[in-house]
Amino acid sequence: MIEVEDLNVIFGHGGGAIHAVRDVTFRVGAGESFGLVGESGSGKSTVLRAISGLNPDWTGIISVDGEAQRQRRDKAFHKRCQMVFQDPYGSLHPRHTVDRILEEPVAIHGMGDADKRIDRVLREVGLGPQFRFRFPHQLSGGQRQRVAIARALILEPRVLLLDEPTSALDVSVQAEILNLLKRLRSELALTYILVSHNLSVVAFMCDRLAVMNRGRVVEEMDAVTLRRGEASQDYTRQLLRASLGYDRAAADSFRDFA
C-alpha cells in the first residue's frame, strides 16, 4: 500500500541545512498497521509529513496505492490518504462547529449528501448527533480527537496517518481512542502508519514497526518481537528499558547514540 524508498528530507540550504531524515526505506502492506517509533528529533513525524504531502522538501520515492507521488499532491491523493494530528486542541478550527469542520471536506471533494455522511461518521467515531453543532471549546480532549478522526474518515480514505494521536490525552481517554482506532481499522479495512514515542501504544496498535534515531531507521521488527522485548539493536534495547519505568541503574547506563 505504501512504499518509501531512500527518503531524505533536508530543511534549509547551505550551512544551516538540517538533514532530518536519512535514507529511510520501508513498506506497509494493505490493511497493515505500521508503527514509527523514536524520540523527539528522530525524524519520525517528518517522514509522516512527507508521506502526507505537508512537507515538500524531500527526495527519494514515496508511493501510495501503487502510485508514485510527487512533491505536490492532487485532490485524489487527499481523498485516499488522511491524517490525524497529535494535539486535539490545535487541530480543530476554534471558530468552526463540528458540523462545519466535517462539511468542509465533503464540499471540497463535491461528494454531496453532506447531512447523511456527517451523521454516519459521527456515529462511527462514537459521538452522537447531539455533538454536531458544538464548537471545539464545548468538547473534551477525547471528544475533539474523535471529531478529528471523523474529519479524516469522512472522505472514506484507505490510509490513515496517525501522528501521536493519543499523547495529549489522559490515559483513560487514550484507551478509548486506541480501541476506537483499532475497531475502525478492522471495520473499514484501513491501512495505518502510527507515529509514537510510546512503545506500549505501538505494541497495542501495530503489526510491525520501525525504530528511528537521528533521522535513520535503526531497526525494523514485528510487534511480537517487541512484546517479547527481543530487540537486536542497543538503541532499541535502551528505549525498551526506559519505557519500563524508572530504574536508577538503567538511567545511569543510558548513553547517546549518534
Binding site: 502526507s52 504531502g53 505537508l54 499532491r73 492532487d74 485532490k75 487527499h78 481523498k79 488522511q82 491524517m83 494530528f85 497529535q86 494535539d87 490545535g90 487541530s91 480543530l92 478550527h93 476554534p94 471558530r95 462547529t97 458540523d99 468542509e104 471536506p105 471540497i108 471533494h109 447531539q130 455533538f131 453543532f133 458544538r134 464548537f135 471545539p136 471549546h137 464545548q138 478529528a148 474529519r151 472522505l155
Partner: protein, 295 residues
C-alpha cells in the same frame, strides 16, 4: 431562553451561532467601562438618526444679530460667528462624523485584511512585494500623506475619507499578516490542506475569520484617531467645506474667538473628545471578548 442560548449541546447551526454571540455579550456586559463606551456610541448613532428632531435650530440658518452669544436657554451651546446655533450644528455634525467613520471602517481594514492574509499565507515573492508596498505607505507620517492626497484630489469630505482610508490600511495589513503567520502553521490549517482545499478557500474560510476579531478591536481603537484625522483635515480646511457642520472645521473657525467666546471652539472639541473616548472604551471591551486567546 438563557438556558437555550448557553447550552453546551446546541441542536442547530443557528442555536450554536446565537449561543456564541450571547456568550460574548455576557462577557462584554461584565465590563462596565465598555458598556459606557457602547452607550456613547449608541447615543451618537441615535443623535445622527434623529438629528432633525433633536436639533433646536437649523444648522445653516445665519442670524447675524445674534452672533457669538454665550450658552443660554435659547441657544444651549451658544452661537457662532454667523449666529448659527452650535448645539444644532454639533447634532448635525454627528452625521458627518459617523459617515466618515463608517466609510473608513468598511474600506481600510478590508483592504488591509486581504493584503495581510494573502501576503502572510502565501509567503515568498508575494509576501515580499506586498510588504514593501506596505512599508512605503508606512514610511510617511499619516497626516502628511493624507494632506498630500487631499491636496492632489482637491478638498472636500469625500476626498478626505479616501485619503484617510488610503493612509490607514497598512497597519491593518501588518497585523493581519503577523497573525496569519502564526495561524498558517497550526494543525487545523494543515488538516484542511490535507483535505485538498485551495489557498483561496483556506484564506477566506479559515484564516480571515481568525484575524477579524483582533482587527475589529484595532479598528475600534483607531476610530478615535480617524475622527481626529478627519477633524484635523477639516481644521486645515482640506476636509469638510463650509458651511458643513463638521466638528473639526467648527473648531477651526472657533479658534479666533477662543479667549473671549470659548464655547465656539470648546464644545465641538468636547464632542470629538467624548466620541473618541467612547470608541476607545468600546475597543477595550471588545478586546476582552474577541481576544483569540479565549477562542
Amino acid at each position: 431562553m438563557r438556558e437555550w442560548l448557553l447550552t453546551d449541546t446546541p441542536g442547530s447551526r443557528t442555536q450554536a451561532r446565537l449561543g456564541r454571540l450571547y456568550g460574548g455579550w455576557l462577557a462584554f456586559a461584565r465590563n462596565r467601562l465598555a458598556m459606557v463606551g457602547l452607550g456613547i456610541i449608541v447615543l451618537l448613532i441615535l443623535m445622527a438618526l434623529l438629528a432633525p428632531l433633536i436639533a433646536t435650530h437649523s444648522p445653516y440658518d445665519q442670524d447675524l444679530a445674534n452672533r457669538l452669544q454665550p450658552p443660554s436657554g435659547a441657544h444651549w451651546f451658544g452661537t457662532d460667528q454667523f449666529g448659527r446655533d452650535i448645539y444644532s450644528r454639533i447634532v448635525h455634525g454627528s452625521r458627518l462624523t459617523l459617515y466618515i467613520v463608517l466609510l473608513v471602517a468598511v474600506t481600510a481594514p478590508v483592504v488591509g485584511l486581504l493584503i495581510g492574509t494573502v501576503s502572510g499565507y502565501l509567503g515568498g515573492w508575494t509576501d515580499i512585494v506586498l510588504m514593501r508596498i506596505t512599508d512605503i505607505f508606512l514610511a510617511f507620517p499619516k497626516l502628511i500623506l493624507a494632506l498630500a492626497f487631499v491636496a492632489a484630489l482637491g478638498p472636500g469630505i469625500g476626498n478626505a475619507i479616501i485619503a484617510i482610508a488610503i493612509t490607514s490600511w497598512p497597519p491593518y495589513a501588518r497585523i493581519a499578516r503577523a497573525e496569519t503567520m502564526t495561524i498558517r502553521n497550526s494543525d487545523f490549517i494543515s488538516a484542511v490542506r490535507l483535505q485538498g482545499a485551495s489557498p483561496v478557500r483556506i484564506i477566506l474560510g479559515h484564516v480571515i475569520p481568525l484575524c477579524t476579531s483582533s482587527l475589529i478591536v484595532r479598528v475600534t481603537l483607531d476610530m478615535a484617531g480617524i475622527i481626529l484625522t478627519a477633524a484635523g483635515l477639516g481644521f486645515l480646511g482640506l476636509g469638510a467645506q463650509p458651511p458643513l457642520p463638521e466638528w473639526g472645521a467648527m473648531i477651526s473657525t472657533g479658534r479666533q474667538y477662543l479667549l473671549e467666546q470659548w464655547w465656539v471652539a470648546t464644545l465641538p472639541g468636547l464632542a470629538i473628545f467624548v466620541v473618541s473616548l467612547g470608541f476607545n472604551l468600546l475597543g477595550d471591551g471588545l478586546r476582552d471578548v474577541l481576544d483569540p486567546k479565549n477562542g
